[in-house]
Symmetry: C4
Subunit: 233 residues, 4 copies
């Protein structure tokens, strides 16, 4: 590996760690602020949490897109690798990125605890049940559909606000409040606050996300065939 | 019908079913979440519901536009057919699309019930009265005006956020909370929750929407004449 | 006047009446809905009212811009006339537009009353006092600055969302809740609800708006000189 | 100094004073309105305050960008000067701009007091502690990262909404509510209301902001190297 591609690789991995960390900081931090400042209405807390999350996510995708593609989500990295980099080098790249996302996500949760003076403790918020897990499948299906549709129609300039809008909306219409991101799910274990998730609930959530990713990818392939060329002989 | 146009047709119909379904899921699902989480203020529930609806609608129009035009609404399909496809083939196409929209809408409501563990039951929320039905006329007039203005001035790139903004605003300023969509109205019968509508209220709503569609189309024709060519001999 | 320019003129006047009417409908209608649905928190009412107003205003400017310039405000029409059409014909045009705006505004308020079953009555909400009137000066100064800055830097494509954002924000930071529009102020007399203004308060408001318009125009001229051509001999 | 560059310089300084003043007016004014109108929920107050701030900030950057670059923040002016104008003339320019920002910020706070009939008094709201000051470091790091990323990738057209979104989000996820601006921090001393900060808390805040600025600049340099030219001989 030559020094230039090493430097580029370091930038990609740093951007994914930083971006996923900042995303989890935004989710967990705004969740703490919302639950402290609006103690009497959980819906208002979720409104505050979803608005802050959406705005932060849009900005992070916008600024980190040119560095790393701003995946910020192992599901996205996985599908990107399956689609465009299906080789040993691609697999190594994906592994490094996913590791960076997970490390960043945990760091973001710990930083949120620090900023708000919360104890460092695992979340005790159990999340699950068939409706919630199905919600998580739907959330991830939707996220993959949004990203795939924009990629395959050459309109990635819309990515930041479209992804942000779909996640902010899905906070409300999926019963799981739309985690839709394995790294973020792992990170959210590390704060026993509004946005946390108990460790025992994490694996089923990630399972549901992987199912949603597969469903989403199938829908993208069906609705957005690449290069249809109907008149090509 | 050759296999390529069949495949394209299937994609159009699937996109309209999926998109209208996702829209109703967003409306009904966020309505359930809002009414559960903000039990003491109906206005706050509607704020949460209208924000989630607007964001979801913008994203759906953005991603499905290239596949099917993202009508997601029989009124839009009907006016598009009257304007550009006034023939037997166009009528068949429109019928298939409207059927897909209605099926998708019902599916979206049922899926929302499933995600949130709500019983499968018809809505018992009666909506009607002269003020509300007039509100529905106004809401549909406005929606048709927004879409028609952008189409006839060649600015359809603004469609996603403009339609989303107009619907989210109209949730508030029309007394009907702006259904403005016959397929969505039918779908919303199938959930006895915040966003539901009792079956007996559906036909008058659809009647009001059709009147609004006609009024809106007349306003579009008057304000946005196509190809005026004032200096053409 | 030949038939073509008459038809164009009718479209301009109709667009201004329709647009200003729809704006007042959005303001007054969402005010009624907000105060009914969120009875226990006036701030929440204003949040709902300001969001609905901003979204409606953005869409109206977007769709009516190509027809009439989407002034929707006598202050804007007046300054546009002073700047670009300082002749008898321009004065006639401006008078017709302002009349249309006022008639539309009143119609919008009456329609809001009708939709929500409110009595037709003048507002009894007195608004005034030095702080509030100064707020109205500031609000109109700001609005003129936003519009003038975009016009004089050739970036009118930003007008819809920039004007909407500035009005929605100014609902909060001016003590007058930012009417900033003589036609809308007159229209809001005609509904004794959340967004209404008592007839006796209207003239001082309009006076403050005219002062704000003059201040705003002066700031625009100072900050955005047209054609500076520093190297022109 | 010739008369033309003097006139241009005056416009730059006026724009920075006006813009920073309007920003503080929006922050302090909407804070006063929010705390009066939503007395029973501090979170709702912050939601109203953060939305108004974000919308005002977007518009101010949009309209003043062509005049002065719309720094509106000594941290931004300082980094811009260090990066592009590292000479005596640049230092003079920066000093004049920062002075204008501070004067404008104080004026904005006093105007907010005037509009809402608040006494002219220093704030008594003490803000500080390790978590809050670390929050302020994070907030300023983030702001500098957003601005630097857009500048160094040639996408400054995204600046208005990206900066606005990041500040509105950071109100929620930093424990300091994201002042991230020394001039605004000084201005907010001058109002004993929701958005105020006690004089004794100001210096630590500014210190934290300067640390955040340095961290942010380092991240920008690492992630967005200028002119990498990997294949240049």
């Amino acid at each position: 590996m030559n020094p230039i591609s090493l430097r580029t690789g370091l930038r990609v991995v740093s951007a994914e760690a930083l971006g996923t960390g900042a995303l989890v900081l935004a989710i967990v931090g705004s969740g703490i602020a919302a639950s402290r400042l609006s103690p009497s209405d959980v819906g208002l807390q979720l409104l505050e949490n979803s608005i802050a999350t959406g705005l932060a996510l849009a900005v992070l995708i916008l600024i980190l897109g040119p560095v790393s593609g701003a995946n910020l989500n192992p599901v996205v990295t996985m599908l990107d690798t399956l689609g465009h980099r299906r080789n040993r080098r691609g697999l190594l790249r994906a592994s490094a990125i996913v590791l960076a996302q997970v490390v960043g996500a945990i760091g973001g949760a710990l930083l949120a605890n620090l900023l708000f003076g919360e104890a460092m403790a695992f979340s005790t918020t159990e999340r699950g049940g068939p409706g919630v897990l199905l919600g998580e499948v739907v959330a991830t299906t939707g996220l993959v559909l949004v990203i795939g549709a924009l990629v395959r129609t050459g309109r990635t300039a819309h990515m930041p606000w479209a992804v942000a809008a779909s996640i902010a909306a899905a906070y409300w219409f999926t019963s799981s409040t739309s985690f839709a991101n394995p790294a973020v799910t792992i990170g959210r274990m590390f704060s026993d606050t509004f946005a946390g998730i108990a460790p025992a609930s994490v694996l089923p959530f990630i399972g549901a996300q992987l199912i949603g990713a597969a469903v989403g990818a199938a829908v993208v392939l069906a609705l957005f065939p690449r290069h249809p060329r109907p008149n090509h002989p």
